[in-house]
Symmetry: C2
Subunit: 275 residues, 2 copies
Protein backbone atom coordinates (compact mmCIF):
# COMPACT_ATOMS: atom_id res chain seq x y z
CA UNK A 1 0.00 0.00 0.00
CA UNK A 2 1.34 3.38 -0.91
CA UNK A 3 1.77 5.95 1.84
CA UNK A 4 -0.50 8.98 1.60
CA UNK A 5 1.26 12.29 2.19
CA UNK A 6 -0.52 15.56 2.88
CA UNK A 7 1.08 18.62 1.27
CA UNK A 8 0.21 22.29 1.53
CA UNK A 9 -0.77 23.41 -1.93
CA UNK A 10 -1.38 21.49 -5.10
CA UNK A 11 0.74 19.46 -7.50
CA UNK A 12 3.60 21.68 -8.60
CA UNK A 13 3.90 23.46 -5.25
CA UNK A 14 7.15 23.61 -3.29
CA UNK A 15 5.60 21.21 -0.79
CA UNK A 16 5.00 18.76 -3.62
CA UNK A 17 8.63 19.09 -4.68
CA UNK A 18 9.74 18.27 -1.12
CA UNK A 19 7.50 15.18 -1.04
CA UNK A 20 9.08 14.01 -4.30
CA UNK A 21 12.60 14.52 -2.97
CA UNK A 22 12.07 13.23 0.58
CA UNK A 23 10.22 10.00 -0.10
CA UNK A 24 12.18 7.50 -2.09
CA UNK A 25 9.19 5.48 -3.21
CA UNK A 26 6.18 6.89 -5.04
CA UNK A 27 3.65 8.46 -2.76
CA UNK A 28 0.03 9.50 -3.14
CA UNK A 29 -0.42 13.16 -2.35
CA UNK A 30 -3.34 14.83 -0.53
CA UNK A 31 -3.53 18.45 -1.74
CA UNK A 32 -4.46 20.72 1.17
CA UNK A 33 -5.24 24.38 0.61
CA UNK A 34 -4.25 25.50 4.09
CA UNK A 35 -2.02 24.29 6.90
CA UNK A 36 -5.15 23.74 9.02
CA UNK A 37 -6.50 21.42 6.33
CA UNK A 38 -3.16 19.62 6.24
CA UNK A 39 -3.35 18.98 9.98
CA UNK A 40 -6.97 17.78 9.63
CA UNK A 41 -5.83 15.36 6.94
CA UNK A 42 -3.40 13.81 9.47
CA UNK A 43 -5.79 13.84 12.42
CA UNK A 44 -8.63 12.23 10.46
CA UNK A 45 -6.32 9.49 9.20
CA UNK A 46 -6.78 10.56 5.59
CA UNK A 47 -2.99 10.92 5.34
CA UNK A 48 -0.19 9.02 7.04
CA UNK A 49 2.37 11.80 7.06
CA UNK A 50 2.52 15.46 6.07
CA UNK A 51 5.12 17.86 4.69
CA UNK A 52 5.04 21.29 6.36
CA UNK A 53 7.22 24.37 5.79
CA UNK A 54 8.51 25.51 9.17
CA UNK A 55 11.35 27.99 8.68
CA UNK A 56 12.75 30.12 5.92
CA UNK A 57 16.31 31.40 5.72
CA UNK A 58 15.00 34.89 4.97
CA UNK A 59 11.64 35.32 6.62
CA UNK A 60 12.43 33.23 9.67
CA UNK A 61 10.14 30.79 11.45
CA UNK A 62 6.58 30.24 10.26
CA UNK A 63 5.19 30.85 13.71
CA UNK A 64 1.61 29.59 13.24
CA UNK A 65 2.92 26.21 12.09
CA UNK A 66 4.80 25.70 15.35
CA UNK A 67 1.53 26.42 17.13
CA UNK A 68 -0.36 23.93 14.92
CA UNK A 69 2.13 21.13 15.63
CA UNK A 70 2.09 21.92 19.34
CA UNK A 71 -1.66 22.35 19.78
CA UNK A 72 -2.50 19.13 17.94
CA UNK A 73 0.29 17.12 19.58
CA UNK A 74 1.79 16.11 16.24
CA UNK A 75 5.25 14.59 16.00
CA UNK A 76 8.14 15.80 13.88
CA UNK A 77 9.84 12.71 12.48
CA UNK A 78 12.13 14.25 9.87
CA UNK A 79 13.16 17.36 7.98
CA UNK A 80 14.08 18.43 4.45
CA UNK A 81 15.72 21.57 3.04
CA UNK A 82 14.75 23.12 -0.29
CA UNK A 83 16.28 26.04 -2.15
CA UNK A 84 13.34 28.22 -3.20
CA UNK A 85 13.60 29.75 -6.67
CA UNK A 86 10.70 31.95 -7.78
CA UNK A 87 9.77 32.50 -11.42
CA UNK A 88 7.38 34.85 -13.16
CA UNK A 89 5.19 32.87 -15.56
CA UNK A 90 2.22 33.40 -17.85
CA UNK A 91 0.38 31.82 -20.77
CA UNK A 92 2.57 30.98 -23.73
CA UNK A 93 2.84 33.88 -26.15
CA UNK A 94 2.43 36.51 -23.42
CA UNK A 95 5.16 39.06 -23.00
CA UNK A 96 6.29 40.91 -19.87
CA UNK A 97 4.76 44.07 -21.38
CA UNK A 98 1.33 42.35 -21.57
CA UNK A 99 1.19 41.69 -17.85
CA UNK A 100 -1.08 43.95 -15.77
CA UNK A 101 -1.42 41.82 -12.63
CA UNK A 102 0.81 39.42 -10.71
CA UNK A 103 -0.97 36.98 -8.44
CA UNK A 104 0.84 34.99 -5.79
CA UNK A 105 1.12 34.12 -2.14
CA UNK A 106 2.02 37.21 -0.02
CA UNK A 107 5.32 35.56 0.98
CA UNK A 108 6.31 34.98 -2.65
CA UNK A 109 5.39 38.58 -3.55
CA UNK A 110 7.53 39.79 -0.67
CA UNK A 111 10.47 37.64 -1.72
CA UNK A 112 10.40 39.18 -5.22
CA UNK A 113 9.77 42.79 -4.22
CA UNK A 114 12.96 44.22 -5.71
CA UNK A 115 12.08 42.75 -9.09
CA UNK A 116 8.43 43.80 -8.85
CA UNK A 117 9.32 47.37 -7.89
CA UNK A 118 10.83 47.77 -11.35
CA UNK A 119 7.31 47.33 -12.76
CA UNK A 120 5.18 49.82 -10.82
CA UNK A 121 2.35 49.48 -13.35
CA UNK A 122 1.86 45.81 -12.53
CA UNK A 123 -0.72 45.38 -9.81
CA UNK A 124 0.16 42.88 -7.08
CA UNK A 125 -2.66 40.62 -5.99
CA UNK A 126 -2.34 38.38 -2.94
CA UNK A 127 -3.46 34.85 -3.51
CA UNK A 128 -3.69 31.67 -1.48
CA UNK A 129 -1.21 29.48 -3.24
CA UNK A 130 1.60 29.91 -5.77
CA UNK A 131 0.97 26.77 -7.85
CA UNK A 132 -2.80 27.17 -7.79
CA UNK A 133 -2.49 30.55 -9.43
CA UNK A 134 -0.40 28.98 -12.16
CA UNK A 135 -3.03 26.29 -12.67
CA UNK A 136 -5.86 28.84 -12.82
CA UNK A 137 -4.07 30.93 -15.42
CA UNK A 138 -3.88 27.85 -17.64
CA UNK A 139 -7.39 26.55 -16.93
CA UNK A 140 -9.11 29.88 -17.46
CA UNK A 141 -6.65 31.03 -20.14
CA UNK A 142 -6.10 34.28 -18.23
CA UNK A 143 -4.26 36.81 -20.33
CA UNK A 144 -2.44 39.75 -18.75
CA UNK A 145 -1.98 37.86 -15.51
CA UNK A 146 1.25 36.31 -14.34
CA UNK A 147 1.96 33.93 -11.47
CA UNK A 148 5.04 33.68 -9.29
CA UNK A 149 5.71 30.00 -8.72
CA UNK A 150 8.17 27.11 -8.93
CA UNK A 151 9.74 25.66 -12.02
CA UNK A 152 7.72 22.53 -11.34
CA UNK A 153 4.52 24.57 -11.60
CA UNK A 154 5.48 26.04 -14.98
CA UNK A 155 6.03 22.52 -16.33
CA UNK A 156 2.92 21.09 -14.67
CA UNK A 157 0.62 23.84 -15.98
CA UNK A 158 2.39 24.52 -19.26
CA UNK A 159 3.20 28.17 -18.64
CA UNK A 160 6.08 30.16 -20.06
CA UNK A 161 8.66 31.60 -17.68
CA UNK A 162 8.97 35.34 -18.43
CA UNK A 163 11.63 35.92 -15.78
CA UNK A 164 13.45 33.12 -13.90
CA UNK A 165 14.88 33.33 -10.36
CA UNK A 166 13.33 36.70 -9.55
CA UNK A 167 13.58 36.41 -5.76
CA UNK A 168 15.67 39.25 -4.33
CA UNK A 169 17.91 37.01 -2.26
CA UNK A 170 19.22 34.19 -4.36
CA UNK A 171 20.11 31.93 -1.46
CA UNK A 172 16.59 31.34 -0.17
CA UNK A 173 16.39 28.04 1.67
CA UNK A 174 13.26 26.69 3.32
CA UNK A 175 13.24 24.01 5.97
CA UNK A 176 10.32 21.61 5.89
CA UNK A 177 9.40 19.13 8.60
CA UNK A 178 7.78 15.74 8.14
CA UNK A 179 5.00 15.32 10.67
CA UNK A 180 2.87 12.43 11.85
CA UNK A 181 -0.02 11.87 14.22
CA UNK A 182 1.75 9.12 16.18
CA UNK A 183 5.42 9.14 16.95
CA UNK A 184 7.36 7.03 14.47
CA UNK A 185 10.19 4.79 15.52
CA UNK A 186 13.38 6.58 14.54
CA UNK A 187 16.46 4.49 15.54
CA UNK A 188 18.38 6.29 18.31
CA UNK A 189 21.59 6.19 16.30
CA UNK A 190 19.87 8.26 13.58
CA UNK A 191 18.67 10.94 15.98
CA UNK A 192 20.88 14.02 16.26
CA UNK A 193 18.33 16.80 16.30
CA UNK A 194 15.34 17.61 18.50
CA UNK A 195 12.59 20.24 18.69
CA UNK A 196 11.42 20.93 22.21
CA UNK A 197 9.07 23.31 24.01
CA UNK A 198 9.24 24.43 27.62
CA UNK A 199 7.79 26.97 30.02
CA UNK A 200 9.67 28.57 32.91
CA UNK A 201 8.77 30.43 36.05
CA UNK A 202 9.20 34.18 35.87
CA UNK A 203 12.35 34.44 37.96
CA UNK A 204 15.07 36.48 36.36
CA UNK A 205 17.75 34.25 34.88
CA UNK A 206 15.67 31.08 34.54
CA UNK A 207 16.18 30.94 30.77
CA UNK A 208 19.92 31.46 31.20
CA UNK A 209 20.00 28.61 33.76
CA UNK A 210 18.23 26.24 31.37
CA UNK A 211 20.53 27.17 28.46
CA UNK A 212 23.56 26.63 30.72
CA UNK A 213 22.40 23.10 31.47
CA UNK A 214 21.80 22.45 27.79
CA UNK A 215 25.26 23.73 26.95
CA UNK A 216 26.77 21.54 29.72
CA UNK A 217 25.01 18.57 28.12
CA UNK A 218 26.67 19.46 24.78
CA UNK A 219 23.47 20.57 23.05
CA UNK A 220 23.95 23.03 20.16
CA UNK A 221 21.09 25.47 20.06
CA UNK A 222 20.03 26.20 16.46
CA UNK A 223 16.80 28.10 17.10
CA UNK A 224 15.09 29.80 20.01
CA UNK A 225 11.83 31.64 20.08
CA UNK A 226 9.53 32.88 22.79
CA UNK A 227 5.84 32.63 21.91
CA UNK A 228 2.98 34.10 23.90
CA UNK A 229 0.56 31.65 25.51
CA UNK A 230 -2.95 31.94 24.10
CA UNK A 231 -5.43 33.43 26.59
CA UNK A 232 -2.50 34.38 28.81
CA UNK A 233 -1.16 37.55 27.26
CA UNK A 234 2.59 38.01 27.68
CA UNK A 235 3.21 34.67 29.39
CA UNK A 236 5.70 32.88 27.17
CA UNK A 237 6.61 29.41 26.02
CA UNK A 238 10.03 28.74 24.52
CA UNK A 239 10.48 26.73 21.35
CA UNK A 240 14.03 25.49 20.94
CA UNK A 241 15.82 23.34 18.38
CA UNK A 242 19.03 21.55 19.30
CA UNK A 243 21.51 19.35 17.50
CA UNK A 244 23.85 16.92 19.24
CA UNK A 245 26.31 14.10 18.58
CA UNK A 246 25.22 11.54 21.17
CA UNK A 247 21.68 10.58 22.02
CA UNK A 248 22.83 9.92 25.64
CA UNK A 249 23.80 13.59 26.03
CA UNK A 250 20.37 14.61 24.81
CA UNK A 251 18.69 12.14 27.17
CA UNK A 252 20.56 13.70 30.08
CA UNK A 253 19.50 17.22 28.97
CA UNK A 254 15.88 16.02 28.74
CA UNK A 255 15.96 14.61 32.28
CA UNK A 256 17.31 17.88 33.66
CA UNK A 257 14.81 19.98 31.70
CA UNK A 258 11.95 17.91 33.04
CA UNK A 259 13.08 18.88 36.54
CA UNK A 260 13.91 22.55 35.83
CA UNK A 261 11.01 23.59 33.59
CA UNK A 262 7.44 24.18 34.73
CA UNK A 263 6.37 22.40 31.57
CA UNK A 264 8.41 20.41 29.08
CA UNK A 265 7.46 18.66 25.86
CA UNK A 266 9.30 17.04 22.94
CA UNK A 267 7.89 18.04 19.54
CA UNK A 268 10.18 15.66 17.71
CA UNK A 269 13.48 13.76 17.71
CA UNK A 270 14.90 13.14 14.25
CA UNK A 271 17.83 13.22 11.88
CA UNK A 272 19.48 16.54 11.10
CA UNK A 273 19.70 16.89 7.30
CA UNK A 274 20.97 20.45 7.03
CA UNK A 275 23.01 20.56 3.84
CA UNK B 1 3.55 72.51 12.86
CA UNK B 2 1.67 69.30 13.41
CA UNK B 3 3.60 66.06 13.42
CA UNK B 4 2.85 63.72 10.55
CA UNK B 5 2.38 60.09 11.58
CA UNK B 6 2.41 57.16 9.17
CA UNK B 7 -0.09 54.40 9.96
CA UNK B 8 -0.76 51.05 8.32
CA UNK B 9 -4.31 51.19 6.99
CA UNK B 10 -6.78 54.04 6.68
CA UNK B 11 -8.59 56.30 9.14
CA UNK B 12 -10.54 54.09 11.52
CA UNK B 13 -7.98 51.25 11.43
CA UNK B 14 -6.44 49.86 14.62
CA UNK B 15 -3.21 51.68 13.73
CA UNK B 16 -5.18 54.91 13.58
CA UNK B 17 -6.70 54.18 16.97
CA UNK B 18 -3.19 53.72 18.39
CA UNK B 19 -2.08 57.05 16.88
CA UNK B 20 -5.06 58.77 18.52
CA UNK B 21 -4.35 57.21 21.91
CA UNK B 22 -0.57 57.57 21.85
CA UNK B 23 -0.21 61.18 20.71
CA UNK B 24 -1.73 63.70 23.01
CA UNK B 25 -1.96 66.49 20.45
CA UNK B 26 -3.75 66.21 17.14
CA UNK B 27 -1.68 64.60 14.46
CA UNK B 28 -1.88 64.42 10.70
CA UNK B 29 -1.96 60.85 9.51
CA UNK B 30 -0.36 59.33 6.40
CA UNK B 31 -2.42 56.29 5.38
CA UNK B 32 -0.12 53.53 4.13
CA UNK B 33 -1.50 50.39 2.57
CA UNK B 34 1.45 48.18 3.51
CA UNK B 35 4.24 48.13 6.08
CA UNK B 36 6.78 48.69 3.27
CA UNK B 37 4.91 51.86 2.30
CA UNK B 38 4.93 52.93 5.93
CA UNK B 39 8.71 52.58 6.11
CA UNK B 40 9.09 54.48 2.82
CA UNK B 41 6.97 57.28 4.29
CA UNK B 42 9.50 57.62 7.14
CA UNK B 43 12.61 57.27 4.99
CA UNK B 44 11.47 59.85 2.45
CA UNK B 45 10.66 62.33 5.21
CA UNK B 46 6.97 62.37 4.31
CA UNK B 47 6.23 61.36 7.90
CA UNK B 48 8.01 62.17 11.16
CA UNK B 49 7.03 59.04 13.03
CA UNK B 50 5.17 55.82 12.35
CA UNK B 51 2.96 53.40 14.26
CA UNK B 52 3.73 49.74 13.54
CA UNK B 53 2.16 46.56 14.95
CA UNK B 54 4.98 44.33 16.19
CA UNK B 55 3.56 41.54 18.37
CA UNK B 56 0.19 39.99 19.06
CA UNK B 57 -0.76 38.10 22.20
CA UNK B 58 -2.30 35.31 20.12
CA UNK B 59 -0.34 35.15 16.87
CA UNK B 60 3.06 36.09 18.31
CA UNK B 61 5.69 38.40 16.79
CA UNK B 62 5.16 39.95 13.36
CA UNK B 63 8.55 38.82 12.13
CA UNK B 64 8.80 40.80 8.87
CA UNK B 65 8.31 44.03 10.82
CA UNK B 66 11.35 43.34 12.99
CA UNK B 67 13.32 42.82 9.79
CA UNK B 68 11.98 46.10 8.34
CA UNK B 69 13.06 48.08 11.41
CA UNK B 70 16.46 46.43 11.49
CA UNK B 71 17.24 46.61 7.77
CA UNK B 72 16.31 50.29 7.51
CA UNK B 73 18.06 51.25 10.77
CA UNK B 74 14.89 52.75 12.21
CA UNK B 75 14.61 53.59 15.90
CA UNK B 76 11.94 52.42 18.31
CA UNK B 77 11.11 55.39 20.53
CA UNK B 78 7.96 54.15 22.23
CA UNK B 79 5.31 51.47 22.41
CA UNK B 80 1.57 51.21 22.88
CA UNK B 81 -0.72 48.27 23.70
CA UNK B 82 -4.18 47.96 22.24
CA UNK B 83 -6.83 45.42 23.08
CA UNK B 84 -8.19 44.36 19.72
CA UNK B 85 -11.95 44.24 19.85
CA UNK B 86 -13.83 43.34 16.68
CA UNK B 87 -17.37 44.57 16.07
CA UNK B 88 -20.01 43.74 13.52
CA UNK B 89 -21.33 46.96 11.98
CA UNK B 90 -23.68 48.10 9.24
CA UNK B 91 -25.63 51.16 8.03
CA UNK B 92 -27.89 52.71 10.64
CA UNK B 93 -31.34 51.18 10.69
CA UNK B 94 -30.05 47.79 9.57
CA UNK B 95 -30.77 44.83 11.79
CA UNK B 96 -28.75 41.61 12.24
CA UNK B 97 -31.58 39.81 10.38
CA UNK B 98 -31.05 42.08 7.35
CA UNK B 99 -27.41 41.09 6.91
CA UNK B 100 -26.63 38.68 4.08
CA UNK B 101 -22.87 39.24 3.73
CA UNK B 102 -20.01 40.04 6.09
CA UNK B 103 -16.90 41.57 4.51
CA UNK B 104 -13.56 41.82 6.33
CA UNK B 105 -9.88 40.99 6.36
CA UNK B 106 -9.33 37.19 6.47
CA UNK B 107 -7.60 37.51 9.86
CA UNK B 108 -10.58 39.39 11.34
CA UNK B 109 -13.03 36.83 9.92
CA UNK B 110 -10.90 34.07 11.45
CA UNK B 111 -10.81 35.79 14.83
CA UNK B 112 -14.62 35.94 14.88
CA UNK B 113 -15.36 32.48 13.50
CA UNK B 114 -17.18 31.20 16.60
CA UNK B 115 -19.63 34.10 16.40
CA UNK B 116 -20.05 33.84 12.62
CA UNK B 117 -20.74 30.11 12.78
CA UNK B 118 -23.98 30.94 14.60
CA UNK B 119 -25.19 32.68 11.41
CA UNK B 120 -24.65 30.11 8.67
CA UNK B 121 -26.86 32.09 6.26
CA UNK B 122 -24.50 35.05 6.28
CA UNK B 123 -21.92 34.77 3.52
CA UNK B 124 -18.33 35.60 4.47
CA UNK B 125 -16.37 37.70 1.98
CA UNK B 126 -12.63 38.29 2.35
CA UNK B 127 -11.50 41.87 1.94
CA UNK B 128 -8.23 43.82 2.08
CA UNK B 129 -8.73 45.99 5.11
CA UNK B 130 -11.19 46.10 7.98
CA UNK B 131 -11.68 49.88 8.11
CA UNK B 132 -11.81 50.22 4.33
CA UNK B 133 -14.81 47.90 4.20
CA UNK B 134 -16.59 50.06 6.79
CA UNK B 135 -15.86 53.15 4.69
CA UNK B 136 -17.20 51.53 1.53
CA UNK B 137 -20.45 50.48 3.21
CA UNK B 138 -21.06 54.11 4.13
CA UNK B 139 -19.89 55.62 0.85
CA UNK B 140 -21.90 53.26 -1.33
CA UNK B 141 -24.79 52.96 1.17
CA UNK B 142 -24.53 49.17 0.98
CA UNK B 143 -27.54 47.54 2.62
CA UNK B 144 -27.45 43.92 3.78
CA UNK B 145 -23.67 44.05 4.15
CA UNK B 146 -21.85 44.24 7.46
CA UNK B 147 -18.19 44.94 8.20
CA UNK B 148 -16.06 43.58 11.02
CA UNK B 149 -13.91 46.45 12.26
CA UNK B 150 -12.84 48.61 15.19
CA UNK B 151 -15.00 50.89 17.30
CA UNK B 152 -13.11 53.80 15.77
CA UNK B 153 -14.23 52.70 12.30
CA UNK B 154 -17.89 52.65 13.35
CA UNK B 155 -17.58 56.23 14.61
CA UNK B 156 -15.53 57.42 11.62
CA UNK B 157 -17.89 55.98 9.01
CA UNK B 158 -21.09 56.45 10.99
CA UNK B 159 -22.08 52.80 11.14
CA UNK B 160 -24.14 51.09 13.80
CA UNK B 161 -22.60 48.28 15.83
CA UNK B 162 -24.90 45.27 15.59
CA UNK B 163 -22.73 43.05 17.79
CA UNK B 164 -19.75 44.30 19.84
CA UNK B 165 -16.65 42.32 20.86
CA UNK B 166 -17.35 39.32 18.64
CA UNK B 167 -13.79 37.94 18.52
CA UNK B 168 -13.54 34.40 19.93
CA UNK B 169 -10.62 35.08 22.27
CA UNK B 170 -11.57 38.12 24.31
CA UNK B 171 -8.10 38.96 25.55
CA UNK B 172 -6.45 39.81 22.24
CA UNK B 173 -3.76 42.39 22.85
CA UNK B 174 -1.49 43.83 20.17
CA UNK B 175 1.74 45.65 20.90
CA UNK B 176 2.58 48.54 18.57
CA UNK B 177 5.90 50.37 18.39
CA UNK B 178 6.47 54.00 17.54
CA UNK B 179 9.34 54.29 15.09
CA UNK B 180 11.40 57.13 13.75
CA UNK B 181 14.19 57.61 11.22
CA UNK B 182 16.49 59.36 13.68
CA UNK B 183 16.79 58.47 17.31
CA UNK B 184 14.68 60.73 19.52
CA UNK B 185 15.89 62.03 22.83
CA UNK B 186 14.06 60.01 25.49
CA UNK B 187 15.06 61.16 29.02
CA UNK B 188 17.06 58.40 30.73
CA UNK B 189 14.70 58.37 33.71
CA UNK B 190 11.85 57.43 31.37
CA UNK B 191 13.70 54.52 29.82
CA UNK B 192 12.98 51.09 31.31
CA UNK B 193 12.71 48.94 28.24
CA UNK B 194 15.05 48.20 25.33
CA UNK B 195 14.97 46.20 22.11
CA UNK B 196 18.38 44.91 21.10
CA UNK B 197 19.89 42.70 18.45
CA UNK B 198 23.12 40.74 18.68
CA UNK B 199 25.09 38.04 16.91
CA UNK B 200 27.30 35.48 18.60
CA UNK B 201 30.07 33.18 17.58
CA UNK B 202 29.07 29.58 17.13
CA UNK B 203 30.65 28.21 20.27
CA UNK B 204 28.32 26.10 22.33
CA UNK B 205 26.94 27.99 25.29
CA UNK B 206 27.57 31.51 23.97
CA UNK B 207 23.87 32.44 24.20
CA UNK B 208 23.68 31.07 27.74
CA UNK B 209 26.76 33.14 28.67
CA UNK B 210 25.18 36.33 27.31
CA UNK B 211 21.88 35.66 29.07
CA UNK B 212 23.76 35.02 32.32
CA UNK B 213 25.41 38.42 32.06
CA UNK B 214 22.06 40.05 31.32
CA UNK B 215 20.51 38.35 34.32
CA UNK B 216 23.45 39.45 36.51
CA UNK B 217 22.80 43.01 35.33
CA UNK B 218 19.16 42.65 36.47
CA UNK B 219 17.69 42.66 32.98
CA UNK B 220 14.29 40.93 32.66
CA UNK B 221 14.03 39.22 29.33
CA UNK B 222 10.53 39.61 27.86
CA UNK B 223 11.12 38.30 24.36
CA UNK B 224 13.78 36.31 22.55
CA UNK B 225 13.89 35.22 18.98
CA UNK B 226 16.57 33.87 16.72
CA UNK B 227 16.22 35.08 13.15
CA UNK B 228 18.27 33.82 10.24
CA UNK B 229 20.73 36.26 8.69
CA UNK B 230 19.77 37.28 5.19
CA UNK B 231 22.15 35.90 2.57
CA UNK B 232 23.77 33.69 5.22
CA UNK B 233 21.38 30.78 5.59
CA UNK B 234 21.24 29.35 9.09
CA UNK B 235 23.47 31.95 10.69
CA UNK B 236 21.36 33.61 13.34
CA UNK B 237 20.83 36.98 14.92
CA UNK B 238 19.08 37.26 18.25
CA UNK B 239 16.36 39.83 18.84
CA UNK B 240 15.79 40.38 22.54
CA UNK B 241 13.54 42.69 24.54
CA UNK B 242 14.44 43.53 28.12
CA UNK B 243 12.86 45.58 30.88
CA UNK B 244 14.79 47.01 33.83
CA UNK B 245 14.44 49.35 36.80
CA UNK B 246 17.66 51.35 36.52
CA UNK B 247 19.19 52.76 33.36
CA UNK B 248 22.66 52.26 34.91
CA UNK B 249 22.07 48.48 35.08
CA UNK B 250 21.12 48.51 31.41
CA UNK B 251 24.18 50.60 30.54
CA UNK B 252 26.38 48.03 32.25
CA UNK B 253 24.67 45.19 30.34
CA UNK B 254 25.21 47.09 27.08
CA UNK B 255 28.93 47.56 27.75
CA UNK B 256 29.35 43.85 28.46
CA UNK B 257 27.33 42.84 25.41
CA UNK B 258 29.47 45.05 23.20
CA UNK B 259 32.48 43.04 24.36
CA UNK B 260 30.88 39.58 24.29
CA UNK B 261 28.86 39.75 21.07
CA UNK B 262 30.31 39.62 17.56
CA UNK B 263 27.79 42.29 16.64
CA UNK B 264 25.54 44.37 18.85
CA UNK B 265 22.92 46.98 18.02
CA UNK B 266 20.23 48.84 19.93
CA UNK B 267 16.92 49.00 18.06
CA UNK B 268 15.39 51.25 20.66
CA UNK B 269 15.41 52.43 24.30
CA UNK B 270 12.02 53.58 25.54
CA UNK B 271 9.37 53.52 28.19
CA UNK B 272 7.64 50.21 28.98
CA UNK B 273 3.89 50.82 28.82
CA UNK B 274 2.64 47.26 29.23
CA UNK B 275 -0.68 47.54 31.04
Amino acid sequence: MEAKIAIQGILGSFHHQVAQEYYEQNVVVDECLSFEELVDSLLSGKSDQAVMAIENSIAGPIIPNYALIDKNNLHIIGEHYLNISQNLMALKGQDLADIVEVHSHPMALLQCMDFLKKYPNIKLVEDKDTAETARRIQQKQLKGIAAIASNAASVMYDLEILAPGIQTIKNNMTRFVIIKKENAFVPKDDINRASIKFELDHKRGSLAAVLNVMSDCKMNLTKIQSLPKIEMPWKYSFFVDVTFDKYEDYQKAKSLLEIMAEYFKVLGEYKNTKP
